[in-house]
């Protein structure tokens, strides 16, 4: 015989966590303040996103944003897996708090810094930008973060600092993809100092008004919207200012296929595939690919960084 036991408390009777946490406000409001002030606080308690109040920055683009389901479940994070969906699950054990960043090289202020302290000096803004992968797909992400240049200035780079190098965490115990040899670990990326100081170069700590999902590079990642996605390194633990051009991960892997600059350019095909069009993530199967733009559409702002440079040679 099957005995069905009724649960002693119905789930509908349990106070919603958000309302529960708001209890003090409600009591306060009831005690002194007007009833009107109570109403919005309950409404916002329903769905208060962590960074909902973060203002939109000056370089935020007016583009149709990709859904978070697509942006958070289609990631190239070889530290965990070469499968774009698997990294969503595999990245979750990564501990992102506390987080320390080591600053080295040609700068006055070097040493170890807590991410928390860095965040105190860098007010957050929202930055909507298009992200174009070297694999010929793109998405539009509302990042939360701060300009890279402003943060780098705080370390007072010296005149010798011609390049900035970033390194991802190396921890094969958690980052199980690092046990294999899909890339030469740890992942390293770099920018020329003038590229790094460009206001479009961005440090992201969040997206879609929440903290960065781990698979998207929490707690701190780079976003360089005019370059292919592999330049936008994830889970940064080290920043080094250097006089010489650093060796970067994909360039070391296949120098003929992935250049140091990696500027988005429809006229320079990857040796094995075309870069002239890109698939828009989340689009229906009958939506044609979008024509890729030089510098991913940010040419007006960044083309001057490369005047006189042969973009076919320095791809």
């Amino acid at each position: 015989m099957l005995i069905k036991e009724k649960p002693s408390i119905l789930s509908s009777e349990i106070t919603d966590k958000a309302i529960f946490q708001n209890r003090r406000k409600i009591i306060k409001a009831a005690a002194g303040l007007s009833i009107a002030s109570l109403l919005p606080s309950i409404a916002s308690a329903e769905q208060a996103k962590k960074y909902a109040a973060v203002p939109s920055g000056p370089y935020s683009a007016n583009l149709q944003v990709t859904s978070i389901e697509d942006a958070a479940n289609y990631t190239n994070y070889y530290e965990f897996s070469t499968n774009k969906k698997d990294s969503t699950v595999l990245a979750q054990p990564l501990k992102t708090n506390p987080w320390t960043i080591t600053v080295e090289g040609e700068a006055e202020k070097t040493g170890e810094f807590n991410l928390e302290d860095i965040l105190k000096n860098n007010p957050l803004e929202e930055r909507i930008s298009r992200f174009r992968c070297v694999e010929a797909w793109s998405m539009v992400v509302p990042w939360i973060g701060f300009p890279l240049g402003a943060m780098l200035q705080q370390f007072k780079p010296t005149a010798k600092a011609k390049f900035v190098e970033f390194t991802t965490m190396y921890n094969p115990e958690v980052m199980i993809g690092q046990r294999g040899k899909s890339l030469d670990w740890p992942y390293v990326e770099a920018l020329r100092i003038d590229e790094a100081m460009h206001p479009l170069a961005f440090m992201a700590t969040g997206m879609y008004d929440e903290d960065l999902p781990k698979q998207n590079g929490a707690p701190l990642r780079l976003v360089v919207p005019w370059k292919y996605g592999f330049k936008s390194i994830k889970a940064i633990v080290k920043i080094r200012f250097s006089e010489t051009m650093p060796a970067t991960a994909w360039n070391k892997m296949a120098a003929g296929e992935y250049g140091f600059y990696a500027n988005v350019n429809p006229d320079v095909p990857h040796p094995r595939w075309s870069q002239s069009r890109e698939r828009i993530l989340g689009a229906s199967i009958f939506t044609p690919k979008r024509k890729t733009e030089l510098f991913n559409g940010y040419g007006e702002q960044v083309a001057s960084l490369y005047t006189g440079m042969d973009l076919k040679k320095y791809f």
Partner: protein, 202 residues
């Protein structure tokens, strides 16, 4: 194996339906929007995977026949080969219709820039005459040349692997798995061929 004619028909129908299953499942996933952030890629890759799997299965039947010293595996060779062609055709159609949007301009612009796509097209082209001459009537008509023509499948097997290996960015474990399977299947034939040569000499 001794089965009645009726039983063989039943077995064949079951295998046919089983081999067809990935197709309705993919159609369903497409209609239900279950293919993820990049649905064309998911569709395209799974169809390519199935084409390669059926190609491997069809190439495994002759070695299986020799190993078991029974003829029944050959009964399924045509069906498996045609399923390889079926999934390869869909794989090709997804590329032409959904990726290139049926545009000749896109084709001219992008295909010559992608060696792995050229190899893929070659693979599909070579597979086409094999599918067209797969009927019993054609087999009779071509006689000895039928066997010679169908040896093209060895080249198809190799070029399918190159097509796969060439598109991968860095983690080649999956194409390497298929490369190992294909080498075993083709290597088996090579060994047999050399053995035959030797006995002839002796």
């Amino acid at each position: 194996m001794r089965f009645s004619k009726k039983s063989w028909a039943c077995i064949k129908i079951s295998i046919f339906l089983l081999s067809l299953t990935p197709f309705p499942l993919l159609v369903n996933d497409t209609l239900q929007d279950q293919l993820g952030a990049n649905p064309i890629e998911t569709l395209h890759f799974s169809l390519g995977d199935w084409a390669l799997r059926f190609l491997c299965i069809s190439l495994a039947l002759t070695p299986l026949k020799k190993l078991l010293q029974q003829s029944w595996p050959i009964r399924f060779r045509r069906m498996m080969g045609l399923f390889a062609y079926f999934y390869a055709s869909l794989h090709f159609l997804v590329y032409i219709v959904l990726d290139l949007s049926l545009s000749w301009e896109n084709f001219i612009d992008e295909v010559p820039q992608s060696p792995y796509i050229l190899v893929g097209l070659l693979t599909f082209l070579l597979l086409t005459p094999l599918a067209l001459t797969s009927t019993k009537a054609m087999q009779k008509r071509l006689g000895k040349r039928w066997g010679q023509l169908h040896r093209l499948v060895y080249i198809v097997g190799i070029s399918a692997i190159i097509h796969y290996l060439w598109l991968v960015k860095s983690d080649i474990s999956e194409p390497l798995f298929y490369a190992a399977v294909m080498s075993t299947l083709l290597g088996f034939r090579l060994i047999l061929y050399f053995k035959k040569q030797r006995t002839r000499v002796e």
